[in-house]
Symmetry: C2
Subunit: 466 residues, 2 copies
C-alpha cells in the first residue's frame, strides 16, 4: 500500500514535471498537420504565386503613397486579384487619408572655396516646401534633441539644424539603431522650429555608408512653426560634417517642394474565406498597401500584401476549409497616418466583430526567422509547442512582444492576440524608404517562405486555437 502510494505520487510528479517543465521541448506533433504545413511550403516554393503578384504590383502599379493615383490603382489591383482568386467576399472599407506630394524640386548644396558642393537630399514625408530659391543659412550640427535644447535659441535661431546621429553598427538588431536615430526624422523639425531654426536636415536612417537618402514619416506641432525638413544621404552627411569642422560658418541652401492637399478618400481592401464552423470568428492577416513615393515599395510593404493574399491562396490550393473566417487585409496609410489600421479596428468595434487573432507582415520579404507575439503567457506557452512543425531554417522562434502597426489598434481595442512576422533584417535598413526598394531586390524563395510560414501559422491557430 505504501509502495503503491509512493509510486502513484511519483507518477503524478513525473507527469507534472513533464507537462510543465518539458512540454516546450517535446510536444506531440500531428502527422496530418505536418503534411499540410509541408505542402504549404512546397506549393509556395513551387508555384511562387506571391512572387508573381509582387512583380505585378511593383512593376504595373508601382509607387502608391496615400492619396496618390498609385494608391488607388493598388486598391483596384488587390481587389481584382482577390476576386479572381475566388475569395468568398472581397470588399473595400472607406478611409480618409492624408494627401501629401513631394514635388519636383529637391536640392541641397553649399559653397566651398567658391565651388558648389551638392548634397543628396530627399524631403521627409510630409515636409513643407521652401521658397523656390530655397532657404540658405548657417548650419548647427547636433546629435540629439537635447543638443538643440542645450544650445538654445541664441545659437539655433535663424539657422538650419543638422541632425547627424548615425546607426550603431554593433547591434545585431539594426531595428534598435533605427529606434535610436528615428527622432531625427520624426521629431527633428518640431524641436528645431521650437528654437527658431528656419529648416532642418538629418542624416538618413541607414545601416550603410552610401549616398541614397531615406525618406519616412515626420511630424509638425501646432505649437511651433512648420519648417522644411529633409534627409541627407549618409555620405553627404559625412561631407557636410567635415566641411563644418573646417568652416563652421558654412551656409547651406535647402530646396524642397513638398505640398499638402485635403484628405483624400481611400480604402482598406479586404478579402475573406468564410469559416466553415465559426464564420463569425475572424483571423486577420495583413500588410500595408501604401508605400513611399520613392522606389516601388517592394519590401515595404508589397511583400506583406502578397504574403497575406498568398497565404489565403495556399489554403485554396490545398482545398482547406478553415473553421474560422480568414481575412487578408491590405491596410491603407501605414506610412504616414495609420488611418487604415485605426479605421479597421473602429469598424470591427461598430460591427461587434469577433477577432480571435491577427498577423501582420511588415518586416520585408527577407527570409523568415520567427514570429513576435503579443498575447498572454498561456498563449505564448501554447504556441511554443507549435515550433516543431516548422523547418529550423524558417521559423525558429515565437518571441514575446511584436505584432504590427496596422493591427495595433485591434490589439488595443479588443485585446486580440497579435503576431508579427520576423525576418532576417541585416540588409533592411540599406534600402528602407529609398529608391532602392524595388522588385529586383526580392528573392523568390525567401518571399515564398514568408507566405508559407504565415499560412502555417494561420492553420495552427485555426486548428488548435490560441
Amino acid at each position: 500500500m505504501k509502495n503503491n502510494k509512493l509510486k502513484l505520487t511519483l507518477n503524478i510528479i513525473l507527469f507534472f514535471a513533464f507537462v510543465f517543465g518539458c512540454s516546450q521541448t517535446k510536444p506531440i506533433l500531428s502527422t496530418e498537420t505536418s503534411n499540410i504545413i509541408n505542402t504549404f511550403y512546397g506549393d509556395a516554393l513551387e508555384y511562387k504565386e506571391s512572387y508573381g503578384l509582387l512583380k505585378d504590383l511593383t512593376k504595373n502599379v508601382g509607387q502608391r503613397l496615400s492619396g496618390s493615383l498609385g494608391a488607388e490603382n493598388a486598391v483596384l489591383w488587390s481587389k481584382t486579384i482577390m476576386e479572381n482568386y475566388g475569395f468568398d467576399n472581397v470588399y473595400l472599407q472607406e478611409v480618409m487619408v492624408p494627401h501629401w506630394e513631394r514635388g519636383d524640386l529637391e536640392e541641397c548644396f553649399f559653397y566651398s572655396n567658391s565651388k558648389r558642393v551638392d548634397l543628396k537630399i530627399l524631403g521627409a514625408g510630409g515636409t513643407i516646401s521652401t521658397a523656390k530659391e530655397g532657404v540658405t543659412a548657417e548650419v548647427v550640427e547636433v546629435s540629439s534633441l537635447e543638443d538643440v535644447e542645450k544650445l538654445g535659441k541664441k545659437t539655433i535661431s535663424g539657422k538650419i539644424v543638422f541632425y547627424n546621429k548615425g546607426f550603431n553598427p554593433r547591434y545585431i538588431n539594426q531595428g534598435a539603431s533605427y529606434g535610436q536615430t528615428g527622432f531625427q526624422r520624426r521629431l527633428g523639425a518640431i524641436k528645431a522650429a521650437e528654437y527658431g531654426a528656419v529648416a532642418s536636415v538629418f542624416r538618413s536612417l541607414s545601416s550603410i555608408e552610401d549616398d541614397v537618402p531615406h525618406t519616412g514619416g515626420m511630424s509638425y506641432s501646432n505649437k511651433f512653426d512648420s519648417i522644411p525638413h529633409g534627409a541627407l544621404g549618409v555620405l553627404s552627411s559625412i561631407k557636410l560634417s567635415e566641411e563644418l569642422k573646417k568652416n563652421p560658418k558654412t551656409k547651406i541652401t535647402v530646396k524642397l517642394s513638398g505640398k499638402w492637399f485635403p484628405d483624400a478618400l481611400s480604402h482598406n481592401v479586404i478579402g475573406e474565406i468564410i469559416g466553415s464552423v465559426n464564420p463569425k470568428n475572424i483571423i486577420t492577416v495583413g500588410g500595408h498597401l501604401d508605400s513611399w513615393d520613392v522606389g516601388e515599395g517592394a519590401h515595404d510593404d508589397g511583400a506583406g500584401c502578397v504574403h497575406a493574399i498568398g497565404a489565403l491562396r495556399l489554403f485554396q490550393q490545398q482545398k482547406i476549409k478553415p473553421k474560422n473566417t480568414l481575412r487578408a487585409v491590405m491596410f491603407m496609410n501605414e506610412e504616414n497616418g495609420l488611418r487604415g489600421g485605426v479605421e479597421y479596428a473602429a469598424v470591427a468595434k461598430k460591427l461587434n466583430e469577433i477577432h480571435i487573432a491577427a498577423i501582420e507582415s511588415d518586416a520585408s520579404a527577407y527570409v523568415p526567422r520567427g514570429f513576435g507575439f503579443s498575447g498572454n503567457e498561456k498563449q505564448l506557452n501554447k504556441i511554443q509547442g507549435w515550433l516543431g512543425y516548422f523547418n529550423k531554417n524558417t521559423i525558429s522562434y515565437f518571441s514575446k512582444g511584436g505584432g504590427g502597426a496596422d493591427i495595433g489598434p485591434l490589439h488595443r481595442s479588443f485585446g486580440t492576440p497579435v503576431f508579427g512576422l520576423s525576418v532576417d533584417g541585416q540588409k533592411y535598413f540599406e534600402m528602407h524608404h529609398t529608391q532602392k526598394d524595388v522588385f529586383e531586390l526580392i528573392n523568390a524563395r525567401e518571399l515564398e517562405l514568408g507566405t508559407a510560414s504565415i499560412a502555417s501559422l494561420i492553420y495552427l491557430i485555426d486548428t488548435y486555437d490560441l
Copy 2:
C-alpha cells in the same frame, strides 16, 4: 521519517527531471561569457575585418584553383595576413594537389533549320578536352544513371548523353536538391562512357532558371574511357530538351579544352594562437583556400577562410588568451581532391596531435542560422545549453550531423567532434561554382555575423569543454 524519506525521493526525482528533461530549456548563463560573446559580435560588426580581408582576397588574389598561380598567391596571402596579425605560429603544410586547367575553348551548339543555336557550356572541373573541331553526335536525353543503363549500349553508343534532371524547388533545403542531382556532374561521364557515349553534358546544378552554367568536381573511372563532360546552363538545357522533342535526331557539337598536368606542390596554411593552459590541445577552425576557376570564390570559400582568420582576430581584439591552442587552417584542394584535409589529418596522426574539436565554414557568407554537429549525444546535449548565449537571429540551433569535408578526415581518424556553420542557404545554388560568385554578392554584416558566431563557439568550447 517516512515523510522525510518521501521528500528526499521527490527532491531527487525533481532534480533529475529538471536536469535531464529540462536542462536544454533554461540553462544558467554566465554574465562574463555573455559579455565576451556580445563583444565578439559588436567588434565583428563594427570593424568588419573579415569583410576587408575577403575583399582583398577576391579582388587582389582572385581565382585560386588547386595547382594554379592564383592558389599559390592565396597561400602567400593568407600566410602574410596571419603573420601581420601577429598570430603565435604561422606555417605552411606541404601537400601535393591535382592540377587541371580549363583552357580557352568551350562551345556547344546545334543547328535548327540551318540556323546555329548556341548553348552556354562550362566544362566540369577535370574534364578532358575534345578535338579542336569538337565532338558532334546525336543526343540521348536522360534523367538518371539508371536511364543510361536501361537504354543500353545500343542506344547510347556513339552518342552524347544529356543528363537533364533539375532541382526540386519544393524543398526548403536546396542542399537536398543538390544531393539528388549531383550524380549528373560527379558520375555522369563514367556511366555514359561505360555505355559507349562519346561525350556527356548535364543540366547545371542550379536552383534558378538562368543561363549561367555551374562547374564542379567530376570523376573518371579506370575501367572506362574518359570522355568530355560539360555543364549546360539551365535555360540552355531547357532549349536543348525542347529541340530534341521536335527533332530527336538533332546533333550537338561540344568543344572543351580541359587539360591535366602532373600534381603540383601546394600548401595548407596554418595560423595558431597557442593555448595558455593546455597548449597541446588543438581546436581547429577552417575554410578552404582553393576555389573554382570561375568567379572569385567569394562565398565558396573565401568566406570560410576569412571566418576562420577573423574568429582568431576577435580573440586578439579582446585580448583573450585561450586555454587551448586555436588553429585557423586554410585547407588546400577541397574542390577537386580534398588533399589538404587528408594531409592535415595524416600529419596530426604522425605527430600525435590532440584535436579536441574542429569547426568548418564552407557554407558561404550568408547569414548564420546554426551549427551542425557530429559528436556524441552527451556532447550534443551539453552544447544545446549554449544556445542561450546566441541572439536568436544568429545561431538558433545545434543540429545533429554536419561538420565539413576538410575536417572529415580528422573526425574519422581521431573521432574529433566536428561542427559546421549552417547559414541561410536560399540563394546559395543560384551562384555556386559560377562566375557569379564574386565579392559584390557579399553582405558585410551577414559575413561578420558568421565570424562572430564561430569565435563564440570556439570560446564556449575552449572555456567549458565538450
